[in-house]
Symmetry: C2
DNA sequence: ACCTGAACACCGTTCAAGT
DNA sequence: ACCTGAACACCGTTCAAGT
């Protein structure tokens, strides 16, 4: 379903502005985003029926980036190393930080949200399976559990202390998975 | 600093009402809580200068309960078992669910909030040290990291599937700490 | 001292009116 | 088709007026 040219431009601009605004402040208001994108609130709501769907659209891009990273990493590194490196990226992408965990939180029952979440799950499953097959982690780990724990990483600020914490947490969780470093 | 009798009653009633309201819906509005407690909004704000401080006051009780549980558990069980059982309580007390993780999130820089958080940290440290001393977990674990990971548990609903997940997650994290079951 | 409740600025969201 | 922006109900918070 193609949009009229001006509508398409508006949509793109809104998404771009929203991405910046939400990165700077996860609580940025809808009206302020509309204003920054030079559209009326009605236009914003025409493209995204509510706040959640806007936030979700912003994240979808980031999630896709993470998902497409998997084959590249697996091609270049051993499964466990690939897995670790992917998790580093997961932590980084928290620029648009924990806004996403709030969304995922609300996703409990919403199927629409689970779809958005799915590429992440698939990515983790792929990496986990590769590691299980290579014997680098123990069998039987649960990808959803893992992602839930790792959601914590999005709440850690990217300071020096924060980075140290991220690597400690990753080490702990990987050890919990039966990996040996 | 003692309060006048009516003020004290109001404060208690507000806290009780807020506890219920926030358990039912973490987003319960300040005005609705005031109304349910039969006070004007101004009275609510006289006792708790903003939303955060009200939420925090509600949690403080729960946190204290968890903290005072530690010696009891350590007296009755081996350190590792005590630690595990304490974590089970931690997960349960998520009745007033993840509202608290949002607060802890905002606590980053706020010293006042860190104080509230402190009893939790102390509890974890006590349990961890006991386990390290008994050789049941590896040395050098970080209590703050641990609590951060376990904050995840507050986001898990208390359904059957949720409980299974909690025990899987706990097992993973404990294994990450070097515990053997 | 403490309480009340109208009022403020702002929020997410809607919708009649325009092009 | 799509956009605009005034308007609605509600939010957290404040403050003049009461007891």
């Amino acid at each position: 379903m193609n949009l009229r040219l001006d509508a398409q431009e508006n949509r793109d601009r809104i998404l771009e502005v929203a991405r910046e605004a939400l990165s700077a402040d996860p609580q940025a208001s809808m009206n302020s985003i509309a204003k920054a994108a030079n559209v009326g609130p009605g236009t914003l709501y025409r493209h995204f029926p509510n706040r959640e769907s806007l936030v979700l659209a912003v994240y979808r891009n980031e999630i896709d980036k993470l998902a497409t990273l998997v084959p590249t990493l697996l091609a270049r590194y051993s499964p466990l190393t690939a897995f670790r490196k992917w998790c580093d990226q997961l932590a980084k992408f928290g620029r648009v930080k924990h806004g996403i965990s709030d969304v995922l939180d609300a996703a409990k029952s919403d199927k629409n949200l689970k779809e958005t979440y799915l590429p992440m799950l698939t990515a983790v499953r792929t990496l986990m399976t590769a590691c299980e097959d290579s014997g680098e982690i123990a069998k039987g780990a649960n990808a959803e559990d893992f992602l839930m724990l790792l959601g914590t990483l999005w709440r850690i600020p990217p300071t020096a202390a924060g980075k140290a914490r991220v690597s400690r947490l990753l080490a702990l969780v990987f050890r919990g998975l039966g990996a040996k470093f």
